[in-house]
């Protein structure tokens, strides 16, 4: 079958007025939702789902695609302006985005984030259009043993985020792993460190942790530093947009790696896309000629993070539409959206509702594209006003927003207190030099690694050591050795040889 015919056939259905309106509205809503810490694309789509029952399926899907892609960029806005990530996936964006903002280049950083998000989303949609059926085989081939190694792969990336003080960096990572462990254990349902609190049984939500760790400490810091004098914020120096566009080739290398990671992790169900940006950032820093500049305002860091977290968007939908296996929590809700419109995922979807499913792929592409004008002009300028709010006023706003954000995760006051506790913890951590990023990575990956390890051991009924003998596992182990063990050895070896040459 010709690859492009169904795509071309679907275009007229997409290009209707209600449809375009839904996409634009979705993107705007997504940007706002993403920029508010605590509100996630998953929750918004789930809640808006009933409103779409009466709509034409494609209009409903267009809105969902818009929210999805918009939210993934929206998370970068507070990450850059205030060092408070709007979504867990934007945590990595703070590393270089906030330093850029402090250097007075907030506008430039936002432009980089916008372009990276948009291209990440578009390229991801392209992968979905062209390769959905073959890529879905990857999803099925990855069982617990394989996913375990992917988790280890992600954990290896932590090395880049540990900071200058190794013991403290490691402690932060262990703290993250510990927090990820709170709740019922994934296999035997044993209560672990819940101290009898029912609210802790299903574990601590990453959003609650993130809001606490990232939003509260800056409030306290600002309060401590602000004396009588009200300090008005800085301005948002925008670079001419075309100038930033011309810089794009510089990011190609960083983007390509973020692309590979994004597609791959998106395909794996249960592996949250939040750690794609960690992987992409690590690769960008390791590849860079000037790794020291990362964390101090290198735009490549922003580019890697934002391209990565949008590159898994459409990819996570590939197993959703081909197999009915959602690749992420957002994808799960979108699958619900397909179902309520009578669109049953699977090969039948491509046969019977080709216009809708290919239309949806086009929408995933288009919503990423319209992110550029919408995110560039409207949203960014609107949010830039945030920087002009005097600090004492900003503190109260951030605090109240954190409260409502943490509350809305599960409609629970308990989570608000938990968020506050993490806020104080985050304050202590920042004062004693413990980095925050390893905590987030530990919380995201700890449960993934533990449950898949233990499931693998259960699956190994014939004592075949499936963790080491399954072919994909062997490939992953080889890659792990190649990327983490070899480079430092090689560096040492070449340094020694150079010394020897110099001596000679």
């Amino acid at each position: 079958m010709d690859l492009f015919t169904p795509l071309l056939n679907a275009i007229p259905a997409v290009m209707t007025f209600p449809n375009l309106l839904a996409m634009v509205g979705g993107v705007l809503a997504g940007i706002i939702v993403g920029s508010l810490p605590g509100l996630t694309a998953t929750m918004s789509i789930a809640v808006l789902l009933p409103l779409t029952f009466a709509m034409d399926p494609l209009v409903a899907l267009g809105m969902m695609a818009g929210i999805y892609n918009g939210a993934m960029y929206g998370g970068a806005i507070p990450a850059i302006l205030l060092r408070i990530p709007g979504t867990p996936a934007a945590i990595v964006t703070t590393f270089d985005g906030y330093p850029l903002a402090q250097q007075g280049k907030a506008g430039y950083a936002l432009q980089i984030a916008l372009l990276s998000s948009a291209f990440g989303g578009m390229m991801s949609a392209v992968a979905m259009m062209i390769l959905a059926p073959p890529l879905s085989l990857v999803t099925l081939a990855f069982g617990p043993p394989e996913v375990f190694w992917v988790g280890i792969f992600g954990m290896a990336a932590v090395s880049v985020f540990l900071g200058d003080d190794l013991p403290k960096g490691l402690l932060a990572a262990l703290l993250g792993l510990f927090v990820g462990m709170i709740g019922l254990d994934p296999v035997m349902s044993t209560d672990r460190f819940t101290f009898g609190a029912l609210e802790l049984e299903s574990g601590i939500d990453i959003v609650v942790l993130m809001v606490g760790l990232y939003a509260i400490p800056p409030c306290i810091d600002m309060a401590e530093e602000t004396f009588r004098k009200a300090k008005t914020g800085q301005k948002l120096e925008f670079a001419p947009f075309m100038q930033t566009v011309r810089e794009i080739p510089r990011f190609f290398k960083v983007w390509s790696w973020a692309y590979i990671y994004g597609i791959f992790v998106g395909l794996l169900p249960g592996a949250s896309g939040s750690f794609v940006s960690f992987l992409a950032y690590e690769r960008a820093k390791k590849m860079s000629k000037d790794p020291q500049s990362f964390g101090k305002g290198n735009p490549e860091g922003v580019a890697a993070s934002e391209f990565g977290n949008n590159a898994d968007n459409a990819a996570a939908l590939i197993p959703t539409v081909t197999l009915g296996i959602p690749g992420s929590s957002v994808a799960a809700v979108i699958m619900g959206g397909l179902l309520v419109h009578g669109l049953q995922p699977g090969p039948d979807l491509f046969r019977n509702s080709a216009d809708i499913i290919y239309g949806f792929m086009i929408q995933m592409f288009l919503t990423s594209l319209i992110l550029i004008p919408l995110g560039g002009s409207f949203a960014t300028n609107l949010f830039a006003q945030v920087l002009r709010i005097p600090r004492p006023l900003l503190i109260g706003l951030i605090l109240c927003l954190s409260i409502v954000g943490a509350y809305c995760v599960q409609n629970s006051i308990f989570d608000v207190w938990l968020m506050f506790g993490f806020g104080l913890l985050g304050y202590v951590m920042s004062k004693t030099g413990l980095p925050l990023a390893p905590v987030a990575l530990g919380v995201i990956l700890g449960p993934l690694i533990e449950s898949n390890l233990r499931l693998s051991l259960l699956l190994d009924v014939r004592n075949e050591h499936i963790l080491f003998t399954r072919p994909i596992c062997m490939v992953l182990i080889a890659l792990l050795v190649l990327t983490t063990v070899f480079p430092p050895l090689w560096k040492r070896f070449s340094a020694r040889r150079k010394k020897a040459q110099d001596a000679a």
Partner: protein
């Protein structure tokens, strides 16, 4: 000049808590405790390491970074935050915000009434529209809604 390095407090508390955690984890089933122990045992060791290193640094370099920039401000702001969280359950989210935001702003020295109240009002409107109207989140009920009953 304090005589105890921040890292000593940090390291010791981490080590003690992690050790307690290990002790608790021993009660878990055979499989359920492996991971907690794998995490908490190294954490105990690292805690001790950080504490010892901190004290040696203090003796050797007499260097101890300041913990609080302004302790009074710290306790003030944390107290208000705690109060806001507490009030949330009884006053409702919007009422609490309407009080907390101006109070913090006034306390920290920004006291122009117009911008303070306009911003607060704007914030409440945005929260009302996004969270309550569009996303229909069941925020804690406002005091005036349940006082009426």
């Amino acid at each position: 000049m304090k005589t105890i390095h921040n890292d000593v407090v940090l390291g010791t508390s981490v080590a003690v808590l992690a050790a307690l955690g290990c002790w608790r984890a021993m009660d878990f089933g055979a499989d359920a405790r492996v991971f907690p122990l794998l995490v908490l045992m190294p954490a105990t060791v690292i805690g001790v390491l950080i504490a010892v290193r901190g004290q040696m640094r203090l003796w050797r370099e007499r260097d101890n970074p300041r913990f609080f920039v302004n302790p009074i401000r710290f306790f003030q702001i944390v107290f208000i935050m705690g109060l806001a969280l507490f009030g949330l359950q009884y006053l409702g989210f919007l009422t609490t915000s309407a009080i907390t935001i101006p109070v913090i702003s006034f306390l920290l020295g920004f006291r122009k009434p117009l911008p303070v109240f306009v911003t607060t009002g704007l914030f409440l409107v945005i929260v009302y529209i996004v969270f309550i109207q569009i996303l229909s989140r069941p925020l804690p009920a406002e005091i005036w809604t349940w006082l009426g009953n």
